[in-house]
Symmetry: C2
Subunit: 472 residues, 2 copies
């Protein structure tokens, strides 16, 4: 089956666009979440929307599943390939097609690297706001699939807030344009659908004006609790920083050993607070922020861009750095209401103490998005299971505090099993109505997001007899 497809693709696409050599296929066996692996049956590297559409149609005609992949930096296995399917890789669709500064937008192909958008418009005083930690390598198409966030999304919003239109190839192989104009806002449903509703082939993104002034504070606190209190005080004062990031002692230790970021010694937690905007506002609010960090034992203000970059280096390298202090780890991604932060952090600490599993906390404190790093030694029998248990228990804490199982990494294959903890069956079935409308044969990135993909037509419609249905 796949051999036939490979020949079909080779006869039409440019030479070198079809990969079926088993060794080369292994390059694509996972995304950033390496616990899930599967070599794709076939890889294609299309160069246009028409080619993507043709590949999708050919797959649909033969009943072959397909998965799209950008740079493969995702952290939920959203781009995990199918051994019986085709992996459509967008790395040859890297053109910035249009930059329109007057209307503050750019049109890009899905393989364009996130940071390259900002680089292209920075000389003109603009940037692309969503800034995942992987922004040097992740692609805009992948950002769209996962509705990616980043440290500065507290103030500026997620990818969904910066995508103005998408040309997509639907799971039928149609090329259609979604925008936020009249009619249904399918753009909103598409962004963050984790590649299950089609493949973006052209993306119109909003360009954001580079702020006049930026000020960055690194504040060191004796404990997580005192740092958390400062976060509450800052947000409570009505200040919306561009970013507030927190790292606990273990995360600081890891970052320090990896990149020598020079954070104050002996801190139980550090906060990075960045303000941006008009100079007058930043100066005024920055003074407020410094005053609100009452329990910090040391505060450092970035003197210049190089100094600011060093402060951020510790934070941005934290995930990778944890590899220095632990042979293996799980990156968790949960959300809690900001007001529940202190309780949830204390509960995570108890979980860690009771289980003997170390947890390093790195998080977007301003929007309650936690990234606990659950550490373990994969050479030690049972250690991974214990870490998985703690990791799952952290998600339960997030859910029971009114939060969510994912803030920005997506559900993918990794968290599909947790979806029923957040949603009722009716909620999930309503989402699957849409999946089935777009993709009746369930070939477009199947097995992601939903714990039990419904055969289309199998979704119960009116649920008579359930409690809310008793009225008539």
């Amino acid at each position: 089956m796949l051999q036939g497809l490979a020949e079909q693709f080779r006869s039409v696409l440019r030479p070198g666009s079809v990969i079926d050599d088993p060794v080369r296929l292994r390059t694509y066996e996972c995304d950033g979440l390496t616990v899930h692996r599967a070599s794709p049956g076939l890889v294609v590297l299309p160069e246009s929307a028409e080619e993507v559409a043709a590949v999708v149609r050919a797959c649909v005609a033969r009943g072959v599943p397909y998965v799209a992949r950008g740079s493969g930096t995702g952290l939920s296995g959203g781009a995990l390939p199918r051994t019986d399917g085709v992996l459509i890789v967008t790395s040859r669709m890297r053109r910035i097609l249009e930059i329109d500064l007057d209307d503050q937008r750019a049109v890009v192909e899905p393989g364009v690297i996130n940071l390259d958008v900002s680089k292209a418009v920075r000389p003109d005083g603009y940037h692309y706001a969503p800034d995942p930690s992987s922004q040097q390598i992740c692609s805009i198409g992948g950002n769209v699939a996962e509705n990616s966030g980043g440290a500065h999304c507290l103030k500026y919003g997620f990818t969904a807030n910066h995508v103005l239109a998408c040309e997509i190839v639907t799971p039928d192989g149609d090329i259609v344009t979604l925008d936020d104009g009249p009619g249904y806002d399918l753009l909103g449903a598409f962004v963050g659908a984790e590649g299950t509703l089609g493949i973006a082939t052209k993306i119109t993104v909003r360009l954001t004006r580079t702020p006049q002034a930026v000020q960055t504070l690194l504040a060191a606190f004796p404990s997580i609790e005192t740092a958390g209190a400062a976060v509450s005080a800052i947000i409570g004062a009505g200040i919306v920083p561009a970013a507030i990031e927190m790292m606990d002692a273990l995360a600081i230790e890891a970052a320090e050993s990896a990149v020598a970021c020079g954070y104050p010694a002996g801190a139980g937690a550090v906060l990075i607070v960045e303000l941006d905007g008009p100079e007058a506002e930043v100066a005024h609010q920055f003074a407020q922020v410094e005053a609100l960090c009452t329990e910090a034992f040391e505060q450092r203000v970035a003197r210049d861009d190089a100094d600011r970059a060093l402060i951020w280096k510790g934070r941005k390298s934290a995930f990778a750095a944890v590899g220095r202090i632990s042979p293996a780890y799980i990156v968790q991604d949960g959300v809690v209401p900001r007001t529940a932060l202190p309780d949830v952090l204390a509960a995570i600490d108890r979980l860690s103490q009771e289980s003997g599993v170390r947890v390093a906390n790195v998080f977007h404190a301003g929007d309650g998005n936690l990234h606990p790093l659950v550490l373990f030694d994969d050479a030690e029998p049972g250690a991974e299971d214990r870490a998985e248990t703690v990791s799952g228990a952290i998600l339960d804490l997030c859910i029971s505090s009114g939060g969510s199982i994912t803030g920005e990494h997506g559900v993918g294959v990794d968290k599909a099993k947790y979806m029923p903890r957040m949603f009722t069956e009716a909620d999930l079935d309503t989402m699957q109505l849409v999946r089935c409308a777009f993709d009746p044969p369930n070939l477009c990135n199947p097995g992601k997001v939903f714990p039990t993909p419904r055969l289309c037509g199998e979704i119960p419609r009116v649920r008579r007899g359930e409690p809310e249905g008793e009225l008539f």
Copy 2:
């Protein structure tokens, strides 16, 4: 059929919740767009989500169409009833269920009046940001259906940006919750679906902190062009005002005669520019704005809230006021890229001159959302047709400049016919896939938004043989 439903509803709902008296039904024959009228077959006034769900299920069981209605202030006929159907009016669902200032959100029923949300939280320093001109009477449920905007949406975003979750009754009669958590962002698709994907029964809205300072400028210009140049200069300077509204001479004349707002005499156009935010920022930027209005022959700064209210009174009463200078008029709602404003305004002026049809322009200049008021005398034979022709030609101008047929009033029944001018058949069919997924029998607000509602199952899937499909 409807008689049977009326009896069924009466036997379960509270007395007075079912209306079938023809005279009383006429009260509901139109929304704010009075050119389309139809008395509903039956009106029900449910008081809970369970009652709404039960009504919907009963309708579905009998194949009877139904339409939801809030306060009936919509301007596209989105709540136009069906003579053969049930109108579900949410005016008895007016409870503010929860206010959570710590997490900056409130949970309200759909019939709650927009302004009442702000009133409830104003003493605590918060407000609900989207502010349609009808905010004193329009309902949050209607705002959700239409994704309503308002003068301050330039800075703060539309309803979709302020709705965090919705409990809805699906067209099947299920009660489900949509939020922006993991899985598909159906909340985004639901907000602005004009009541075709179900009925909101509980809405979680974001509360916005009341800004520390507000400054309002009324600037009078000799012409539309000079006022437009000031708008470009302000936006071009990177300032995002809370609002920039423009009115031309005819709109000023109307407002003046209706509410004596005291705008400077002899102005070809006035701009209202409002800035809000931290005091330091507002003061700094307000000085910039004043300097950028170089061609204004008079600038007035609101001295206090009463003065500010008077400035706004002229703008907010403009639509109604036009009734003083013309027996009848059409309120148009189109969008153009901000950069195309001068050209489009000049073209509207030419259209008006050539046709002899007067056009008063009132608009949200900052986001290019035009509200041309096309005036006519309904006693004069052919006048309405001529006005309709000009009104349609204005939409064509908006579309050909890269804009949209509606900015905030929705498509409803009124603009369905224009949808094919903006979207390809594949685009529209993709939207209808979603409508059909939610509502296969097409009973939920049928006849709105889509020019040719497809029978579900009739939507062509893979469009082989079309140009983009030639590759394989």
